[in-house]
Amino acid sequence: MSAAVQPAGDAPVTVPLLELRGISKEFPGVRALDDVSFAVWPGEVHMLLGENGAGKSSLMKVLCGADSADSGEFYHKGDKVRVSSTADAQKLGIAVIFQEFSLVPYLDIGQNIFLGREPSGRIPGTIDRRRILRDARRILDSIGFNIDPSILVEKLGVAQQQMVEIAKAISQNARILVMDEPTAALSDRETELLFALIARLKADGVAIIYISHRMAEVFALGDRITVLRDGRRIDELRPADASPDQLVRMMVGRTVDMSYPRHFAETPGKVLLEVRRLAAASGISDIDLEVRAGEIVGLCGLAGSGRTEVVRAIFGADKVTAGEIIFDGQQTSGGPDQAARRGIALIPENRKSEGLAPLRSVADNLVVSALRKLFPSHLFDPRRAQRVADGLVKQLRIATPTSRQMVGLLSGGNQQKVVIGKWLATGAKLFIFDEPTRGIDVGAKSEIFALIDRLVADGAAALMISSEQAEICHVCDRAYVMREGRIAGQLSRSELTEENIVRLGMHHA
């Protein structure tokens, strides 16, 4: 596409407030950003669209100085600048509204806004708290946030905390705000308030970079839309010139360069897992799903839609507040130890922090779930454990010099094989995978899918969460799509296309 499109406005602005040209960033094996160019004009809302992993967060990190780009240039009001630290970004007036807020819970709103910049009081050494409250009040009023600045931040809801973060940014004379899915945790009314605030900021000439998955917002708020995919800027257009379907197609289209070894069963086996009206304190509700032997069932949706929460509730890792889980004909409840004993296995999202003990050996990690099964007398025989582990290493083709190697030193793909392997020895019948191929190179991905395929061919069942739509479509018999804590719909094999998944997962007006 050609150079940046000028926004409509009264005063003629000739130069963008901030412009990035040719930004590239590479991690080993992955091009996070590939020659991305991006410009922001004052008083506009620039929407950034893209799937999980398209490069949005990498771009934001580069923008606010938290990460440095490998190549490319920054221009501020036409002048070339360097942004190599968060301080540099702050000086240019760039502020990111964090998802994990940088607020101190037991200080009040005013103190949080002015943290580190407190005005001095009359007695030397003290701070002028009255002035802090006055100045805070002024800033809060300027953004239309009517709240008493002496209230502790801890008492505020997520939406209000976000407002305080914005107020903080404004008080530091931010002229470019970056907001990452700001309405994700907001109610409809709170969203309206946020939009009103954004309108005021726009009128004031502040530029806003807005990351969102909600089509309604994109078209309601956006002045321009940039779509990223696989680290590249696909296109930049005005809402008037685009349609939701068009945007979805831009976000999703991708060349497939992987092999997915999958042998779909002719007839589905018996129902192994049945979930009815499941709800949990983690924010999911009214979940109905079922998984049969021989199937790989996908669980899709955007980040934050509740997929991990569902599988954790099924596994007993989170407390269930309503509904039933019926596994192999029996009602189940209780914690992970009981789920494991019944034959449910969970391969968690963060393999290093939740799936393995990185400082222990491969062998130790491989036998840890099956200890009671392998050693019913409770006497642990390290040599037998070693043999079992070696067998699994061979069977799964785990690349490690010996099974006594520290598991934290293995590559991502091999670590994942260890996590899967530890459940093989338990004879589990239901395998739940949460992003099984995240951060794993292509070769290992194929192996993992081959492994899952073999497991279900042998009579097990699999429930798989993945943010890569291509994977789901190639590997799953069918899939459920989640949206905002509920199941938005189910897709049968013939309906299973990337576009359908993305469409169901996004919030349509």
Partner: protein, 325 residues
């Protein structure tokens, strides 16, 4: 990911064989201390002194062995000293009243075990951090013990019973035999039972352990219960050795026990360490304190030296942890 990829391609460096290496280093350190002390003091290598060192190390080890399991789960039991005191006083009373050493032993073990389980419940059910829970327990036990004893001392136990602490068998003090037994039992429990493996896993990564199907609450109750019971065991040996029971016998026991565990290579952050290592740690600390005694250093320096060694041991542990992670 780059760093990990490089490391995976580098020559293998596993932590497991590192365990044995760490113990070897510490044994060498103990040996070194022995050599130095034999030069500095004539009476170091006397039979009487060596047996004394072994006996002292045994007493320290009894408490420290159970404590090792707690520290393996990244917890701490600060109440062990007070536990020993209360258990000893109750057991002593029972022996005196009933004349039966067996009942006394059972009382000591039961008291220790119950205290341990109470600690465990505070940590698992009440979710109170272990160092605060056991710290509170320490003061409760202290108070109870002093109140119960009301300033008095119990002394005079049956000679058969006293053999446990003061007797000899084939020239070695009986506590040393007890030490060997508990060293063996402790090592077998930690390294050769499924419970032991689950305890290591819980300490190494409690989140992953739970998601791997380990019943963590039950295992934590187990380790605190064992730690308490071992304190009860130690109280019996103290009782037999001192031939008396007073409210203050536990005061100076907790810090050296913790020190022995940490010097022995067990990490405060959990998942790494061995019971044998704790034994070597107890040996090293006893040698250092023994040396100070032989060189007529003011006894008041002992808690200082112990405190400094504890801080050093933790610092070394943190440095080595960062290198391997």
């Amino acid at each position: 990911m780059t760093d990990l990829a490089k490391q995976a391609l580098a020559p293998p460096r596993s932590l497991v064989s590192g365990d044995a290496l760490q113990i070897l280093y510490r044994l060498l350190a103990a040996l070194l201390i022995c050599v130095v002390l034999s030069f500095l003091s004539d009476s170091f290598l006397s039979l009487g002194n060596i047996l004394n060192v072994l006996r002292q190390a045994s007493l320290m080890f009894f408490i420290a062995s159970g404590l090792t399991l707690v520290v393996l789960t990244a917890g701490l039991d600060l109440s062990v000293g007070a536990n020993v005191a209360l258990s000893a006083c109750l057991a002593g009373t029972v022996i005196q009243q009933t004349g039966s050493p067996t009942l006394g032993v059972l009382t000591g073990l039961a008291t220790g075990g119950i205290i341990g389980l109470l600690n465990g419940m505070m940590v698992t059910a009440l979710r109170i951090p272990s160092f605060i829970a056991t710290y509170g327990m320490l003061w409760v036990l202290n108070g109870l013990t002093y109140w119960y004893m009301a300033g008095e001392t119990i002394h005079g136990f049956p000679p058969g019973f006293r053999q446990i602490g003061s007797g000899y068998l084939f020239g070695l003090p009986i506590p040393v035999y007890l030490l060997l037994i508990f060293l063996a039992v402790g090592t077998i429990f930690a390294q050769r039972t499924t419970w032991g493996q689950e305890i290591y896993a819980t300490g190494a990564n409690p989140v992953a352990a739970r998601l791997s199907g380990i019943p963590i609450a039950r295992r934590l109750l187990l380790v605190y219960g064992v730690s308490g019971t071992m304190a009860g065991m130690a109280s019996i040996v103290f009782l037999a050795r001192l031939n008396s029971a007073e409210a203050d016998i536990g005061e100076s026991l907790t810090l050296p026990a913790i020190a022995a565990v940490l010097i022995g290579g067990t990490s405060l952050f959990g998942g790494v360490g061995t019971v044998f290592g704790t034994f070597v740690g107890a040996l090293i600390l006893t040698l250092v304190l023994n040396g100070m005694n032989l060189l007529s250093v003011n006894a008041s320096w002992q808690p200082i030296v112990t405190g400094v060694i504890v801080v050093l041991a933790v610092w070394v542990d943190m440095k080595t942890r960062r290198r391997t992670s």
